[in-house]
Symmetry: C2
Subunit: 687 residues, 2 copies
């Protein structure tokens, strides 16, 4: 269902009930751009920490507009053994609702716009008919303003800036308007003696209307209702009605309701997000970090400065999230899925061992045909994201004894994937952990190197030629991370560089320490979402046991009650993170413990810890893949730039090449070659 | 005529010939926003210097996109005594033409977008079908790249980054591609022995294509033409043809031409602007400073740092400009025209004493109906701007003896309006003088006041209550200009403030001096437009005699040759500015002096110097007016903000009000009241 400003109010009930009845919902956003930095590689260093990545995305990606929001609700029909889906495609635009409302500016990135244009995106629906919205603060302000104006009118001093509040005297009418105002008074006096009930004054300026209000309020404190009416030509005039006290009250009540309605209209699309949040339903997205960040920024509040606060806000807004890109990159799926781009994933899960779920589009909704791709319409993308989730979730059921063909959104089997958002192109941290501290992989083998800006990748290979294979992750023109293949060579490299003048080497630990000194001490945690916000009525079931048991087998629950809380085995709760500071705000949900915990035949297999050395315990280990699709608007590389795939800041080589590019031509960050298809190091690669 | 990417190339000849045959052309641009500052008042202080204004506009208005460009050419048909017009409406968008081309980001302002949407603007035409463009530097870069690639191919080393240029050895084929490449070699060898002329390889990756090129180039240096072809599905494959040397050369020539064509396509809409520039024709606009700035920025070069350089660039791009808003605000028109907004002006010049010119739309062009307003479509706005110009110009002819009904675009009568661009809302400097130094009105009566940020307008009135009427022009939260009505009170005010702690007063002269010290010394003038640029083939006729004779009557020429240079009376050239530094780059055009200079009956009247004290001699003195329309997207004020018209930073009061707004409510910058309709000071007011 396409929803614009024109049918938004009429659709709202349908939207609310679809959310209410859903087992889960899938979302997707389309933006006016991705990165306002010079290029994406500046945004995605392969050795970013989660904090760094968050800060970069916040800085370089939040000035774009999320202008299409897709929601597809999935409701399982037990009788028919199929999902009933309701896809929605919302067009969103921050139309200023009046002169004093925020006049938002947003950035458009030509490549993103051009990409959407090539996909048949309808920009007129966004810009001409987009649904307005307000964040929580703007909403509060508007409600306050409305309230204030109402109080003023109730006190008869609705124009307090011109009549002194204490005197309540007559309005000061400037000389040049005196004749006009006297004429109006005459007409109104005439109204009292005539049989007419209503008097329409001629259209006039805002200032004149103001004077009329003041004058009539003072001269005729009772018996009149004065109102501004707009003609079809948008001309405004004042309508004066004779009313008794009761009628006057009734009209004022009507006006109040109209004003409330106007506020609700201004809150607009945010109401849909509030409803999702309030429902506490599982929200599924594909590579959804940016979607989540944009959603919070546009419809709730400016993104918090620090990552822990962002996580807390996210949990308030979306208590249960699941990222299908992370799921597809994780055991047992990574073995089966080479390319986790949404389009490829959708194709892949149509084939064995996956089974396409039975799906029926609810009556009155547009029925998508996955044969005819409509990729990058948000509603369609949300729909196929949901399909991918269902296929993958059901595949997990095949490992149960006996196998189960349908795995619900509340099954314990999918708990491991909750609230972990895929991190693009970070070598050794596959996801952002919303409900706890992030993985802190050892980076003992990583060096931080600074050098003159003339240096190219080949210079770094030459410098480290004695240390075997290296991996270079460019940070900027004059610095990069260099990963050695053997940690024991780090000290040797450091020693070698001691007397170097043109470049400088630090260990990763030194680098991090230096950064932390530069940054301010973390402020005391603010309490987001406590007061004015809608609190989710769902207490996240996984908030107690975030993370994965280290080297432990998972015990999926069999019971899978369709309603009520999911089962939780004991094993989940007593796992402690080495760094437990992040869990201080987490709640424990102890109510459910009634499931039969039996050993599934694959529990060893599909949640096995990767060989990667990460100190934060086991985790879903995403598979290697060639990232192609998620950079929307970037096509296949050109003949003219034959250096090969742009790896966005991370290059992998087996051998330091001797002849790197033509003299004087900078081609750092552009080389990858073909050798990178095999992993060099035993860390999970995620791009 | 609507022109998008789809019909651009086919329309180009029509556009070129329309420009070539025109007597003058009118232009108008539509932008994605106006100001990225917090509000327009930050952009337009009533006492800005031209330098300050330029710097502000450059900083706060240039990140928006000029996405619709209207041109209307006007050609006078002597026989029919009417103008033949050709209106064009170009949709413009910086579509990246390949992976390595600039990925421009631009800002959209919701209010502007919403305003255009309400006028029926078609955003899809911009974003989906907008004509691309390049500025001069990007064009040069692209031509260089193309040239370089061609040279490389001619030398047989088109992939020099993988094959060492010196060795010209075989390409290094990675192990995993060897089998594939060998298969390709086999097929090509088969081609040589078969009767087929052409071999289509299967679609493959860019890297594979690269390897194929390298291998075939090396293995079969002669007898083959290898080319990448794209299928309808945008899949790329390699086509190999058997060719003899001649055929090979022919194909390479074709390829070269295709590449040149691609470059021209990428230059796109810029070619239209280049054609206008080259024509040297009079270009008319309404309130056109932003149009000119955007045009230069998008299609020529990033705007220069300093105003003098901007003026020089502008003269290179548009040797003859005329701003109808300035014209309408100047004697003899200011007496007749109350509101100089384009819509109101267009209505006004339909009535006496103006005469609507006879106009005929050329065959094949969309005929606009001025009865049915299509305001804010750039082509329409350009059209009515041209109409306004013709009506006003013809009105000047009525003062001649004998009166002339038609005044051509080359008449001396309009020379006084050349190359002066209207400056919005500057109290005493009506225009930016492109061909010379700007007016430097005396600001002896102006004080620069700094104060705590809690201060409101009323605090300033109180502070200066002893000095009679004042006028406040807010600069920011903590500073404002205060104009006293009498210059002799300035010293008294200064003395009074000597021991003040909370605020500080400087004279305007001190303020300017302080600013100049802060700024760097003006760098030596750069030579814009000397090398790579198209030089205008028109030497501005007025460049010698910019400015107006002080207290002198103008002697309009009668001859008005339709072709050839316009007449120039002696009086023009020997007028010297007090500050003549700005004229160092100006050229003198002495070729024409053959007109009969006779005294027109109105020469005293319509170019009379205003009473304003401006040291730079007489000038067109714009009339007072209520600026309403030019702030696009701002409607009439709301009941809810009854402080009246937002005067964007300048407030005029006759009396210091005693009760200003409710306690604690900031309403500075919002108050105007109605008293401002009479001018307080004898300076030209332009807002």
């Amino acid at each position: 269902m396409e929803v614009t400003r024109q049918n938004f109010k009429d659709s709202l009930k349908t939207v609310y009930s679809a959310i209410e009845e859903a087992d889960f919902l899938a979302i997707d956003g389309e933006f006016s751009g991705i990165s306002d930095g010079p290029n994406v590689s500046a945004l995605t260093n392969g050795l970013d920490t989660p904090e760094e990545r968050y800060t970069k995305l916040k800085k370089h990606s939040m000035d774009f507009l999320l202008f299409q929001f897709g929601i597809c609700t999935f409701t399982y029909d037990q009788a028919k053994s199929k999902y009933i889906i309701k896809p929605f495609n919302f067009y969103v635009f921050p139309k200023p609702f009046n002169r004093t409302s925020p006049d938002l500016k947003f950035i458009c990135q030509s490549s993103s716009i051009d990409f959407l244009a090539s996909q048949g995106f309808d920009f007129n629906k966004v810009f001409c008919h987009g649904i307005p919205y307000l964040n929580k603060e703007e909403e509060a302000q508007l409600r306050e303003q409305t309230e204030e104006r109402r109080n003023q009118q109730a006190n008869g001093i609705n124009n307090q800036s011109f009549t002194s509040p204490s005197s309540k005297g007559p309005a000061h009418v400037p000389q040049e308007h005196k004749e006009y105002i006297n004429r109006v008074i005459g007409k109104v006096e005439g109204l009292f003696t005539s049989s007419e009930k209503t008097l329409d004054l001629e259209p006039c300026t805002g200032f004149q209307r103001k004077l009329i209000y003041q004058t009539l309020n003072w001269k005729f404190p009772k018996g009149l209702h004065v109102e501004t009416v707009e003609t079809e030509k948008k001309e405004r005039f004042i309508q004066v009605c004779k009313v008794d006290d009761e009628e006057r009250k009734r009209r004022e009540q009507q006006k109040l309701e109209r004003e409330q309605e106007e506020v609700n209209d201004a809150v607009g699309f945010s109401r849909v997000i509030h409803a999702i949040s309030k429902s506490g339903k599982l929200v599924v997205g594909h590579n959804m970090l940016l979607d989540v960040m944009h959603t919070i920024q546009q419809f709730y509040l400016p993104l918090p400065e620090d990552l822990p606060d962002f996580k807390e806000v996210t949990m308030c807004v979306f208590p249960r999230l699941l990222d299908t890109k992370l799921m597809a990159s994780t055991q047992p799926f990574k073995e089966l899925i080479n390319n986790t781009s949404l389009a490829e994933l959708e194709k892949r899960v149509k084939e064995g061992p996956f089974k396409s779920p039975l799906v029926e589009t609810a009556e009155g909704f547009h029925s998508y045909d996955t044969g005819q791709e409509q990729l990058h319409e948000a509603g369609y993308d949300a729909y196929i994201t949901g399909l991918c989730f269902v296929s993958m979730a059901n595949y997990l059921g095949s490992f149960l004894t006996p196998p189960k063909p349908h795995i619900s959104a509340r099954s314990k089997l999918i708990d491991p994937f909750f609230n972990k958002l895929f991190l693009m192109r970070i070598i050794d941290i596959p996801y952002l952990n919303i409900t706890g501290p992030d993985l802190t992989p050892k980076r003992d083998h990583v060096l931080y190197v600074t050098f003159p800006k003339e240096w190219k990748t080949s210079d770094l290979y030459q410098l480290f030629s004695a240390f075997g294979n290296i991996q270079v992750s460019w940070i900027d023109d004059t610095s990069a991370f260099v990963s050695l293949s053997q940690t024991d060579q780090v000290q040797i490299a450091m020693n070698t560089s001691r007397y170097a003048e043109s470049y400088r080497i630090q260990t990763y630990a030194e680098y991090i320490k230096g950064r932390q000194i530069k940054e301010k001490v973390e402020p005391t945690p603010k309490s987001w979402g406590e007061d004015s916000w809608t609190k989710p009525n769902y207490t996240p079931a996984t908030s107690a046991g975030f993370g994965y048991p280290r080297k432990r087998s998972i015990s999926p629950a069999l019971g899978e009650p369709r309603t009520g809380d999911a089962a939780m085995t004991d094993g989940w709760r007593d796992y402690a993170y080495p760094d437990s500071t992040g869990s201080k705000k987490m709640k424990t949900d102890d109510k459910s413990g009634n499931a039969n915990a039996i050993e599934s035949k694959t529990s060893e297999g599909w949640l096995k810890t990767g060989d990667a050395s990460d100190s934060a315990g086991s985790s879903p280990i995403p598979g290697e893949e060639e990232e192609e699709e998620e950079e929307e608007g970037k096509g296949e590389e050109e003949e003219g730039s034959p250096e090969g795939n742009d790896t966005e800041g991370t290059v992998t080589w087996q051998q330091a090449p001797t002849s790197q590019g033509k003299k004087g031509q900078k081609n750092k960050k552009k080389s990858k070659g073909t050798e990178s298809s095999t992993s060099l190091f035993d860390v999970p690669e995620v791009w």
